[in-house]
Structure formats: C-alpha cells, structure tokens
C-alpha cells in the first residue's frame, strides 16, 4: 500500500516536471507561431500584436502557469490553423488512437506470450531457434521501414489490405501489426527467459514430485511466476506504442493523436502541438505508473510483505 502511494506521488511529480520540459521545448524550438495563423501579407506590428494577444511575449514560466491554469479549468484552447476546439480534437482523434493502440497492445501479448512459452519449452531446438531469430529481427527492424515493407507486400503486391485509411477492421490490420511488432519481439524474449529461469527453480521439481502434469507445471506454476516481469513490462509497452504511433499513424494515414501532433508541429500550431505532446507524455508516464502497480499486484511477495 505504501509502495502504491509513493509510486503515485512519483507519477504526479514526473507528470509536472515533464509538462514543464515539454512546454519549454516547444517554446525554444524556434519557428514562428504567427506564420501558421496569419497570412503572409501581415505586417511585423500586426504579428507582434498577435503574439501579445496569445501571451507569447511574457516570460516562459509565466506562460506556463497561465497555461496550466487554463488546462486545469478545462479550457484547452483552439487550433491556430483552423480554430478547431482542442477538446473536440482530443475526443475525435483520441478514439481512433485508442482503437489502434489497444489492438497493438493486445497483439503484443496474445502473440508474444504463447511464442515465448513455446520457445522456452523447446529450448535450443528448431522451434526455439526460429522464434528467437524472429525476435531479434523484430527488434532490429525500424518500424517506419517495416510499415513500408508491409504496405508493399500486403497492399501493393498481394492486394489483400488497404495501404491507408480508417476506420474499418481491414484498415486496422497493418498499422496495428506494425505497431505491435517490436513489442511482440520483446515480449517473446522476455517470456522465454522468465520461463526458463522459473523452470529451473526448486519448486518446479516440487510440483513435478507432487504428480502434477507438465501442462500444469509449465502453464500454471511457471507461467504465473514468469508473468511478474511481463506484467511489469506491459506498462512500458504502452509508452512504446504511444511513441511509435506518431510514425505509424502518419504512414498509414490513421487519423489519431499521433497524426494530429505531427501535423501540428509541422505547421507550428503551438496550442495543438503543446497539448497533444502533453497528452502523449502523460500516457507514457501513466503507463509506467501502471507497470509499478501491476508489479505489486502480480507479485504476492510485494503485496503483503
């Protein structure tokens, strides 16, 4: 319980510090906010007045507190390019990202854990070596390249799936698969090593001496213990998926938060870029926090000790 409280405290602290970092990074990244919002013919004086109105002339820490105050009262602001309400954008694009992210998240574990168990049971045989080769490859291939490869194979060559678009299941398959790929590769490896470590423990011999079947020894006892680090890894996978979503959503034209953020940054749309950066940072931090909680829930030695 104390562990959970202290982890939650850390989470909030990291959230605040990272929001400051994001805020400064965007202010200091150069570029001109007025370029996106105002026509090219605008005079320097008009631009200065516009900056004044947006509060961009105040010192950055003052701007930060003003911004934090508005966010906390629910005023998320509007886009500089099309004046769209950022709250509406969050709901509309957030839903798409949630679908894509959740699909990738499920794939990571639904494929990664069984493959990892299989590899550990067939250790050093052909199946294990095949799975491990796949795993190393999966971690080595950059996802933007994998995305292009997937589009070339499944869309251009085989004509099985659309190369881009939204929002049916057939549109979801390629981006979700690419987004999950590295997570699967990591989860396979993690599961395999955790299983092997646990299968070598004395209590596995006790379980066998009790006359339990290999299915129970491996699928219940060894797996239950192997899941502790895997669950801990799960929160980190959220962070990874959020990060990769920027690239994958852009390549596959999936209208999610990542795509919105990339476009906003390219157009110097400060309020949008700033807010969605913060959303992604918050997701990563919350993912890590969930990992900490998951670790406590999964491991009885931490729960009651």
């Amino acid at each position: 319980m104390r562990r959970i409280l202290s982890r939650t405290g850390y989470m909030i602290l990291i959230l605040i510090l990272s929001s400051i970092a994001v805020f400064y990074a965007i202010r200091l990244s150069g570029g001109d906010a007025t370029a996106a919002a105002l026509p090219a013919s605008t005079t320097a004086a008009q631009r200065e007045a516009f900056r004044e109105r947006l509060g961009l002339t105040a010192p950055i820490y003052v701007q930060y507190f003003q911004y934090a105050g508005r966010i906390l009262t629910g005023d998320l602001g509007n886009s500089l390019t099309n004046n769209a309400d950022i709250g509406d954008m969050l709901i509309r694009h957030g839903k798409n990202s949630l679908i894509l992210g959740a699909a990738a998240f499920v794939l990571v574990f639904a494929i990664g854990i069984p493959l990892g168990i299989w590899a550990s049971v067939r250790r050093n045989r052909a199946a294990d070596q095949g799975i491990m080769t796949f795993s190393v490859t999966g971690m080595a291939i950059p996802n933007f390249w994998l995305a292009l490869l997937a589009i070339w194979l499944f869309a251009s060559t085989l004509h099985l799936l659309p190369s881009a678009g939204c929002c049916e299941l057939r549109h979801l398959v390629l981006p979700a698969g690419v987004l999950a790929f590295e997570g699967i590769a990591l989860t396979v490896r993690m599961t395999r090593s955790a299983m092997l470590e646990n299968l070598g423990q004395d209590w596995v011999r006790t379980a066998r001496a009790a006359g339990l079947s290999e299915f129970r020894v491996i699928g219940k006892h060894a797996l239950r213990n192997a899941l502790i680090p895997i669950i801990s890894l799960a929160g980190l996978r959220i962070g990874q998926i959020v990060g990769y979503a920027l690239v994958v959503e852009t390549i596959f034209g999936w209208p999610g938060l990542g795509q919105v953020l990339v476009n906003a940054v390219l157009r110097r749309d400060y309020p949008v870029a700033q807010f969605f950066s913060l959303v992604l940072v918050a997701l990563v931090v919350i993912g890590n926090w969930l990992a900490d909680l998951g670790y406590v829930v999964a491991n009885p030695r931490l729960r009651r000790a």
């Binding site: 004395d202 209590w203 379980a207 001496a209 009790a210 006359g211 079947s213 213990n225």
Partner: protein, 330 residues
C-alpha cells in the same frame, strides 16, 4: 509347523545405474545400487556429499534433471517396474504412493501460490475431490504436521512462513495422500538446530502412525543413530556396507563406515583433534580401478587396488570390502 512370514519390499533397487552427461563427458553417478526397503521401516542412506544419494532418490521419483538418465538396473515399487514406466503412470504414483521431501524448504515452494491452494491442487489432481473436501483434507493435514493456526496459514504465501513452517508444509504435501513410501532428502539440513529435532520427530511419528516405509537421506550420523532401523552406507555411487542400525554402530566393518563413525565428535575426547577421513570422494569420472575407497583407506592391500570388491552377505550385514579391519588396531 511354523512358517516364516515373507514380506515383500515396498521398493527394490537392483543394480541401478544413473549416468550424467555434462560438457561432452559421460559418467555414472549411481553405479549398480541395490537396496530394499520394507513396509514400516526407516532406512537411512548415508554418505558424504557427492556420493550419489540425491541422484539415487531422484531416479526413484524419475525426477532426474535433463542431463541425467537411468542407464541400467531396475526400480521395482510394489511389484511394478518404474524405470520403464510411462510418464503418465509415474505421475499417478508421485505423491499418491511415493512422496519426496527436499532439502531446502525456502526454495521448494512456489512463491506465487498460497499454502492452501498448493495443497488443494495436489489433492484435486490426484483424487478429483471437490473444493470443500480438498479444503478439509488440506486443513487436517496441516494441523497434523503441527502447523499452529492451520486455518489462517491456508491463506499464507510461502514467504510469510519460517523455514521450519515451510518444511512442515512440504511434509504435509508429502503425506496428504498417505503414500506407501516417503523419501526425505536431507530434510533438516537447511534448518536451525532447534527446529531440526522437531521436524525429525514429526517425520518419525508420521512414519510410525502410517506404517509407511521411509528412505531418509542424510549425512548426519546422530540422526541415523536415533531414527534408523537399517542403514546403508554409500560411497562413490554404490553401497559399501548395509546393516541394522545397532550392528552398524556397535561393530562397523567397512573402513569407510568406521571412518564416518570415528569422525563424530565425542564429549569425552575433548582434547584430541577431531578425526577426519583423509582425502575426498573421487569425482565420478576419475574413479580408481579397484575399490573406490582404496586411496583413502588405511587398510588397503594389493587386491584392493586391482579388483573391485563385490557386495557380500555377512549374516544380516552386506559388506563390500576385501580387508575389513577394526580402527582399534590402528
């Protein structure tokens, strides 16, 4: 007309040979082990570390690690051959008919499950019991092995229990299905001295009440003297002497047995340095051609270095020695 009652042994090992393959080397760790254990009897298997006691026990349970294999001989349990038995049949025998307790209770219980769920799973798998009767049996067994407040301990995870309590849980797991044979491999070695005696008493009590056979593996001769009915002394993978406990301690014949007994500390001999058998057990891949003990034996004669001595009957005793002499003559 009186007829001797012939009781069949529960477990009968004949020329059991277990081989380990490691780093391209192949060597026998158990070599031609023969041993009978009868119902309602405690047989102690003694010997130094590395002499093959644990591997012999794991062979009986067919729980050998991947690198080890039974390569010869037979293991007959209640008339059934275990060496060639199917995995499925062995599983049905484990815990139900032959149970085993291991040395280290701290690492021998699955850390992610409660004591109650571990015991109940064992009962349900073997007996197909419903939850209520499995719970009742688990509780009764925990109480029987003198775990205080057994009801609340059912919900405890292994890390919440002391070493002694965990070993009691292991004993409960071993006894819950009322097996015919209990193999206890150094069950008290990892425990505090004060707890050792309690655990040992518990085991002996259970053996008496249930009239089961028990193979107690130990290197502690004080334990042997207090609980064993029969003792088998193992050296370098084979039995060198076997006798009823009184005979073995009163008149040990094999120089190795004598060395072990001689090495026990004596209250009266306070000023003499403690005796220890010179040298160490030869690693299994480098055993001498004759008697394995010859290089450490104070009485070895020429034949000991050339021929391997057979295990021969001498009344109630079995002895593997060409030149049994008393340490008193030294």
């Amino acid at each position: 007309m009186s007829e001797a009652v012939v009781v069949d042994p529960v477990l009968s090992l004949r020329n059991l040979t277990t081989t380990i393959h490691s780093d391209g080397l192949t060597f026998d760790v158990v070599r031609g082990l023969s041993l009978d254990i009868y119902p309602n009897e405690i047989v102690c298997l003694v010997g130094e570390s590395g002499c093959g006691k644990t591997v012999a026990a794991l062979s009986v349970m067919r729980l050998l690690p991947e690198a080890a294999q039974i390569t010869g001989g037979s293991i007959r349990f209640k008339g059934r051959e275990l060496v060639s038995a199917a995995e499925r049949d062995i599983r049905a025998i484990r815990a139900e008919e032959i149970s085993m307790i291991f040395q280290d209770p701290l690492t021998s219980l699955d850390p992610s499950f409660t004591v109650g769920s571990i015991l109940k799973e064992l009962i349900k798998v073997h007996r197909g019991s419903d939850d209520a009767s499995a719970t009742a049996l688990a509780l009764a067994t925990l109480a029987e092995v003198e775990i205080p407040d057994a009801k609340s301990r059912m919900d405890a995870y292994p890390h919440q229990l002391s070493g002694g309590m965990r070993q009691r849980v292991m004993i409960a797991m071993a006894l819950v299905l009322d097996p015919d044979l209990l193999i206890a491999d150094e069950p008290t070695t990892a425990l505090d001295v004060t707890v050792q005696a309690q655990i040992l008493d518990r085991l002996v009590d259970e053996q008496r009440q249930r009239q089961m056979a028990m193979l107690l593996i130990t290197h502690d001769l004080a334990v042997v003297a207090s609980v064993a009915h029969r003792v088998a002394v193992m050296y370098s993978g084979e039995i060198v002497e076997q006798a009823p406990v009184d005979q073995l301690f009163a008149d040990p014949q094999h120089p190795y047995t004598q060395g072990l007994i001689h090495a026990l500390p004596h209250v009266s001999a306070r000023k003499e340095p403690l005796y220890s058998i010179p040298g160490r057990v030869p690693p299994p891949q480098f055993t001498p051609p004759g008697c394995y003990f010859a290089p450490r034996c104070p009485f070895s004669i020429e034949v000991c270095w050339k021929d391997h001595p057979p295990l021969e009957f001498d009344g109630d005793r079995l002895l593997r020695c060409y030149n049994p002499q008393s340490f008193a003559s030294l």
